[in-house]
């Protein structure tokens, strides 16, 4: 966009609305935000406006262990796909890597799983992490707002449990929620032992609310919580010398003759060769699905978030749960277009910023659970027509960020929310002076491969942790529980995999399940040339695709 049309980073026509926001600020500060909704009001607004509640967005899976389950079309498309390899032509007799524990995924859950498999007694040279990009190119590193743990005297794991169940619409698996809330304080302590710099004042944690919490239990490290915690965990894994194969995505899980998980076929992105990894236990830690853009939404997710693990585990016989629900984070960036859909942390709201419409009016309690908050934004923009339209035709609502300094004192935002300040400042917007324009963005895969409390999937020898697994969050995850999830269930999956590997014997390697899956597709009459896992999205425009000659060299 040409700079001359912008004032303080915003198009001149938006200035009138920004002035209205400024004009109502002192009144809003005095009166406080609207009250939280009742459970009935929440259900009603979700029914009216949340994308999950649109029946046309989903279909029933035709084949596989969860046939009949309703999932978004985009998920059904990758599940009802052919393998990227020809399972009949892969040579399984030459094993390139023979390990005890294979971890698929180099993000938070995978790294934690590897550390705890080692803790369980597996030597580091018998562990292998494989990842499609670099070790740490993941969603965990991007988490901003915080991690929940009930550690204050006025709080308890019991209260945390209730918040999680209510936020998830009671669809969560109780034993998983129990594990999540009970392990949380121990996870924070583990982080402390490794040297994570959590925010403290006078030696006490600075704990805050998140959407849908009844107690302030959000632990943060400025608005770089994910980076600070993940980088510390990765540094620990590096000190332990846990081997990592980077740019080596897994493309199919291997089973043995008994039907137990026994490793994976992996693909070298540069040389385009495959390699065979045999493992006594396999941990799935492949993260979520943001980059398949459910219902066309932009996403906060990293480049490799394409649900590869879901596809591979499903073919190997694992069932999925709660995949009908998708988390849209209420505050994705709506303007400028260059950073559309990137995350504006919920911490902005837990520090006092409130959503306001084009006329500078508040219309929703700022810290509803994420699905409810998102539904309220969508209604304000597209039903009540009180949103602000951007030059590219997107609508958004204001997040009145200058309220943070007005409440906590000048300089607070820039210090406590440095990443946010920098992100908009790079586009000439100063969010301590002007509000930020936001709209819901695709953020999190609420469901996934079903696990039990110890990270076991339905496939013996296959364990899962982090965003790829399902059952923990029900139909909606609360802020600060994804960081917690990858630690709690990454750890549990790693311990279980370590224990399993000590007893397991791999009896031959097989890709028969992939051959069977091909046949099931044909039998169900699914005539498609789709292949999955898709590994990385393709953002090249049609004009390029039309003229491509493919790989000539």
């Amino acid at each position: 966009m040409s700079k001359k049309e912008l004032i303080g980073g915003y198009p001149a026509y938006m200035r009138k609305s920004i002035e209205k926001v400024a004009a109502t600020r002192s009144k809003r500060l005095k009166e406080g935000p609207p009250s939280p909704m009742s459970p009935e009001e929440r259900e009603a607004i979700l029914e009216r406006n949340h994308p999950d509640y649109k029946p046309s967005g989903k279909r029933k899976l035709a084949i596989g262990p969860s046939a009949g389950e309703l999932v978004p079309h985009e998920v059904a498309d990758i599940i009802e796909s052919h393998p990227v390899i020809d399972p009949r032509s892969i040579d399984l007799t030459k094993v390139d890597y023979d390990v005890d524990v294979l971890v698929i995924g180099g993000g938070g859950a995978g790294t934690v799983a590897a550390i705890f498999a080692h803790d369980e007694g597996i030597p580091t040279d018998r562990i292998l992490i494989v990842t499609k990009l670099r070790h740490g190119d993941c969603n965990s590193i991007m988490a901003q707002g915080g991690i929940q743990a009930a550690d204050r005297p006025q709080d308890s794991p019991v209260m945390h449990y209730l918040d999680v169940m209510g936020g998830g619409h009671y669809a969560n698996k109780p034993e998983l929620v129990r594990a999540l809330v009970s392990d949380a304080p121990g996870i924070i302590h583990w982080h402390e032992d490794m040297g994570v710099m959590y925010d403290k004042v006078d030696g006490e944690y600075m704990e805050a609310h998140g959407g849908g919490t009844s107690r302030m239990r959000m632990h943060s490290a400025k608005d770089y919580t994910g980076k600070e915690t993940f980088n510390t965990i990765r540094d620990q894994a590096r000190n332990l010398n846990i081997p990592v194969l980077e740019f080596f995505p897994a493309v199919e899980i291997l089973l043995d003759k008994q039907g137990h998980a026994a490793g994976a076929v992996v693909y070298n992105i540069e040389t385009e060769e495959y390699r065979i990894i045999r493992a006594k236990a396999t941990v799935l830690a492949t993260g979520g699905f943001g980059r398949i853009h459910i219902q066309g939404f932009p996403t906060t997710n990293h480049y490799g978030a394409t649900a590869d693990g879901l596809v591979m585990a499903y073919r190997a016989g694992a069932n999925i749960i709660d995949m009908d629900s998708v988390q849209y984070h209420p505050t994705g960036v709506a303007f400028p277009a260059a950073i559309l859909g990137q995350l504006a942390t919920e911490k902005l709201r837990n520090q006092g910023a409130t959503p306001v419409n084009v006329d500078g009016e508040e219309f929703v309690f700022p810290l509803e659970p994420r699905d409810v908050e998102s539904a309220a934004f969508i209604e304000e923009c597209w039903v009540k027509n009180k949103g602000i339209e951007t030059p590219s035709g997107i609508r958004g609502v204001w997040l009145d960020t200058p309220m943070i300094d007005a409440i906590h004192g000048k300089g607070t935002l820039k210090k406590a929310l440095a990443a946010m300040w920098t992100m908009w400042h790079r586009h000439d917007i100063d969010i301590t002076v002007d509000p930020a324009l936001v709209y819901p963005t695709l953020h999190y895969q609420n469901g996934g491969v079903e696990i039990d409390a110890n990270g076991y999937t339905r496939v013996p020898g296959l364990f899962a942790g982090g965003e790829c697994e399902g059952g923990v969050h029900g139909k909606n995850r609360l802020m600060g529980n994804s960081q917690l999830d990858y630690n709690v269930f990454g750890r549990r999956a790693g311990i279980s995999a370590g224990q399993w590997a000590k007893k397991a014997k791999v009896d031959g390697l097989s890709l028969q399940h992939a051959i069977d899956y091909e046949q099931a597709l044909e039998k169900a009459g699914i005539d498609t040339d789709r292949k999955a896992p898709i590994i990385l999205p393709d953002y090249r425009p049609e004009s390029v695709h039309e003229r491509t000659l493919g790989h000539l060299l």
Binding site: M1, S2, G32, P36, P39, L133, R134, I141, M142, D151, R152, S156, V158, Y161, L162, P174, R178, S182, P185, H189, E192, M194, G195, V196, M197, Y198, K200, G203, E204, S214, M216, Y224, G226, N231, T232, R238, N239, F247, I269, E270, G296, P298, H302, Y303, A337, A338, I339, L343, N350, G352, S392, G393, I407, A418, T422, M423, R426, H427, L536, P541
Partner: protein, 239 residues
């Protein structure tokens, strides 16, 4: 992606010697994809947190090299662009439990910081606007807290170390400084220790047993009966 509608105005960028016409208003990464590049390296989180997309560029007619994250910087007309693959840099191995957090510990593990000539090239290369040279100087003085504080926003893209004439590995050393600070200079609050003790003693087991076996209706009632703790800022407002 379909929802990302660029402005109509077009600009020219030069990617590794080839010129492309792309819409204005895209990030460098999006602009390169528009031009036909499909990244398999040099793209990670696409939100400015992972440090995968270090980019070196120069403006037409300008002799200076500039540095940015391709996912955060808007492409401008006349940019000459090169994507840098992540470069190897040695890091010191240590056991956080066993190191002695004395003043010269950083110098002991990263002796090359003493080679710093205060040229400030590292700071100029930093896409996060971190005062990199200042934290190296703090580390030399043995001020671990300052090193940790100044380097906190580091995303480990490695541009500082690539540019450093003294071959200092700033970001690895800074990671170690933050861990030492977190582990040894910022004590664990007592209430966390107390809570762990309570969990170990099974204080919440009976109540959790009860919750886990509740019917949906009972859970809904228990959920509705919660009283939300007021944040200090909220109580100030309601006064």
């Amino acid at each position: 992606m379909a929802s990302k509608k660029p402005d109509k105005e077009m600009i020219h960028i030069h990617v590794m010697g080839k010129t492309y016409e792309v819409p204005a208003g895209l990030t460098i990464m999006d602009a390169m994809e528009y031009a036909g590049y499909r990244f398999t390296r040099g793209a990670g989180c696409r939100s400015g947190f992972c440090g995968a997309c270090s980019t070196v560029y120069r403006h037409e007619g300008d002799y200076r090299l500039q540095f940015a994250l391709a996912c955060q910087e808007t492409a401008q007309d006349g940019m000459y662009l090169v994507q840098l693959p992540f470069t190897p840099a040695p890091r010191a191995e240590y056991d956080i439990e066993k190191i002695n957090p004395k003043e010269n510990v950083l110098l002991q593990y990263y002796p090359e910081i003493a080679r710093c000539v205060s040229c400030n090239t590292c700071t100029k290369a930093c896409p996060q606007d971190i005062q990199v040279m200042d934290y190296i100087q703090a580390a030399l003085r043995g001020d671990i807290a300052k090193t940790a504080e100044l380097s906190f926003d580091c995303i480990q893209c490695g541009l500082c170390s690539m540019r450093c004439p003294a071959d200092i590995k700033h970001y690895h050393m800074a990671q170690m400084a933050r861990r030492i600070y977190g582990r040894y200079m910022s004590p664990v609050p007592q209430h966390l220790e107390d809570r762990l003790q309570e969990i170990a003693e099974g204080k919440f087991d009976a109540e959790l047993d009860r919750l886990v076996s509740m019917s949906r209706k009972e859970l809904e009632e228990a959920y509705a009966a919660r009283v939300r703790e007021e944040a200090p800022a909220e109580s100030e407002k309601s006064e």
